[in-house]
Assembly symmetry: C2
Homo-oligomer: 115 residues x 2
């Protein structure tokens, strides 16, 4: 089995065949991380309910939490208006970030001039 052709037809992939997935905690709304999926990673995510990504650095599929225990149970998934981004709402067990932070965006705030 592979990704539903009706979904595959709507996906717009980068040159390397990937789509970014924004991962959000379903109840608090925290943006936890961004990861990358190819068709197979999306298929596995939708059919297992466990967030599964393509690791660009390792060149391998990666079921979030398989090593760390910090599993993401998928509550919902959506494509954006032009099919080039996925939004996953998950229930994150423990820390989303490999640094131990709750989210990957906790440590490096940038100063903004208000507009």
């Amino acid at each position: 089995m592979s990704l539903d052709p009706a979904i595959a037809a709507r996906l717009k992939r980068t040159g390397d065949g990937l789509v970014p997935a924004v991962v959000q905690q379903y109840d608090t709304g925290e943006v936890l991380m961004l990861a990358w999926m190819d068709d197979e990673a999306l298929h596995r995510t939708l059919t297992t309910g466990r967030a599964t990504y393509w690791s660009r650095s390792r060149g391998a599929y990666w079921v979030k939490g398989d090593t760390s225990g910090h599993v993401q149970h998928v509550r919902s998934a959506a494509l954006d208006c032009d099919g080039d981004t996925i939004l996953l709402k998950v229930d994150q067990v423990g820390a989303a970030c490999h640094t131990g932070d709750r989210t990957c965006f906790d440590a490096d705030r940038l100063e903004v001039t208000s507009g």
Copy 2:
């Protein structure tokens, strides 16, 4: 003036020099959209407080709301743990999506097997 070299040194860009920016409504937590920035777009965003992106389809800078009126006032910005994603928290005027939807993820839900 260009992007603070201390920030530029932490950015990890795709092959085409871009970094994805996840855009979130600062108070409700809604994920509104994903867009792309190069160094100059990030510089303009941080120094004007108006979300500014690089349009891959048009090959041009794009100040969100200049055409539609649907401005994004930036409340905060952060880099993720490995410097390859930006999280912008904004106050979105009107609809974030060019379709008129509040967010770009409202229209295309994907079915998930719960895990």
